[in-house]
Amino acid sequence: MRILGIESSCDETAAAVVEDGVKILSSEVASQVEIHHRYGGVVPELASRHHVEAICPMVEAALAACGMEAGDLDAVAVTQGPGLVGALLVGFGFARACAFGLNIPCVGVHHLLGHIHSVFLEPEKTPPVYPFVALVVSGGHTGLYHVPDALTLELLGQTRDDAAGEAYDKIAKIMGLGYPGGPVIDAMAAEGEGGRVFFPRAFLDKDGLDFSFSGLKSAVARFLSEDGGKTSRADIAAAFQDAVVDVLVSKAFLAVEKMGCRDLAIVGGVAANRGLKKKAAQEADMRGIRLHMPSPFLCGDNAAMIAAAGYHYLQAGKVLGLDADVFSRATDPGRVAVRHR
């Protein structure tokens, strides 16, 4: 079964074709493709207009990349939420019209469930076994979920203020390192010595699974203004990264232990962070837990993960009705698939 996936929940406009929920036939992401060339100039980086301009070329590119025509598709899967309503509507409207025109079913996928399905898309890697624990960590989300089956997310804990990726961006900004902050700080941290400075770890209540990164952000900002350039930026980056990674890894494995699972998936943009990957792999080895992290091209927002998750929606008969609409919040009660545990 060949499913066209469409993603437009935030900055990226993406389209992909995935077979049977596991095999990527093509995957295109607008912000990574040479979109500037396509339009011969600067395109707004954000917001709905960008999606409007990018959606048709992305879908055409995804079909062309696997030598398919629209008529070869069996279904369309699209991100329904959470995200920016104006951005979501572009992909959602396009997907539904496309499916209607082709007379094939259309399914609405929860964006975070999509991220979790990114660990099923690499044939050389052994996929996780249900039930497992997933840490979704990106610029906009930082949450731990229990995943009992392909279509259910049970929220175990999440950030109470900033997402981890956002902390990276903000620290990179005050250090004058540019945007996005994750890759820059990750690279810089590799050159530095984390032990020279110590930043607080927000474990909140030790037993809980919520995160907080706002205090760390303030601590680094304060340190930078008081230090007056004495400590090398690489050492500060390393100390900051250590603090973030420590909290993410310890909470993730605490969740694995609490739920009695053997598999942990770490997904989302920050899953491409080498510091996180290294520390998580060490901890997994020590505890005998199977760790699943996608390759960098599947960490950021993409449509292959949406098509992969969409396959399971389709198998379960969760096809969109005519009155379906997008939703903005990750934890809106009563929304698809997510329930509080």
């Binding site: 707004p44 954000l46 917001a47 709905s48 309503v85 104006g86 900033d162 997402a163 961006d169 005050i174």
Partner: protein, 161 residues
């Protein structure tokens, strides 16, 4: 028109939360708030207090919208929390649908409002100033009569909820 400006002092994050909550409790009609303050001033924390006063369900996660641009919550009056920092053009504010939200029956809090054209659209301007690790000065301004009354009533609330 005369602008009313009042300041409240807070000695701790808890006190800032209570002050914001007390303000939220007083809001009963659509309200547009521009919120500013340096990184680490506690803007998200202030919105958490405001959300509580507006009746956003306890246990809801009110988090920073810096990445997602807008977070929305159900409450007595719906609460929309936007952060425009990542935008580069004022017409992107239009693209993300912020003006529709601001024109709706809701409370809209906007960080980095200077990305928009003109501040006249705001009923309240709130600025949080950092003094040391946990002390903050919260300065609030209103030009319209209704919101000036609201601020006066907030100022008289010496024992915030």
């Amino acid at each position: 028109m005369e602008i009313l400006s009042i300041t409240r002092q807070s000695r701790s994050p808890e006190e800032s939360f209570r002050l914001a909550e007390s303000l939220g409790l007083r809001i009963h009609s659509p309200c547009r708030i521009a919120l500013s303050g340096d990184l680490g001033a506690g803007k998200t924390h202030f919105v958490q207090g405001l959300a509580s006063g507006l009746g956003v369900a306890e246990g809801s996660y009110v988090t920073s919208p810096s990445y997602a641009l807008i977070h929305s919550y159900d409450a007595r009056l719906p609460l929309h929390h936007a952060d425009l920092y990542r935008l580069s053009h004022s017409d992107e504010v239009f693209d993300i649908g912020l003006y529709e939200l601001m024109a709706s029956e809701a409370v809209t809090v906007v960080e980095w409002a200077e990305r928009m054209e003109g501040m006249e659209i705001f009923d309240l301007e709130i600025h949080i100033e950092i003094h040391g690790e946990s002390e903050r000065t919260i300065r609030a301004q209103a030009s319209g009569l209704h919101f000036q009354d609201l601020l006066r009533s907030w100022q008289q609330d010496s024992h915030p909820v």
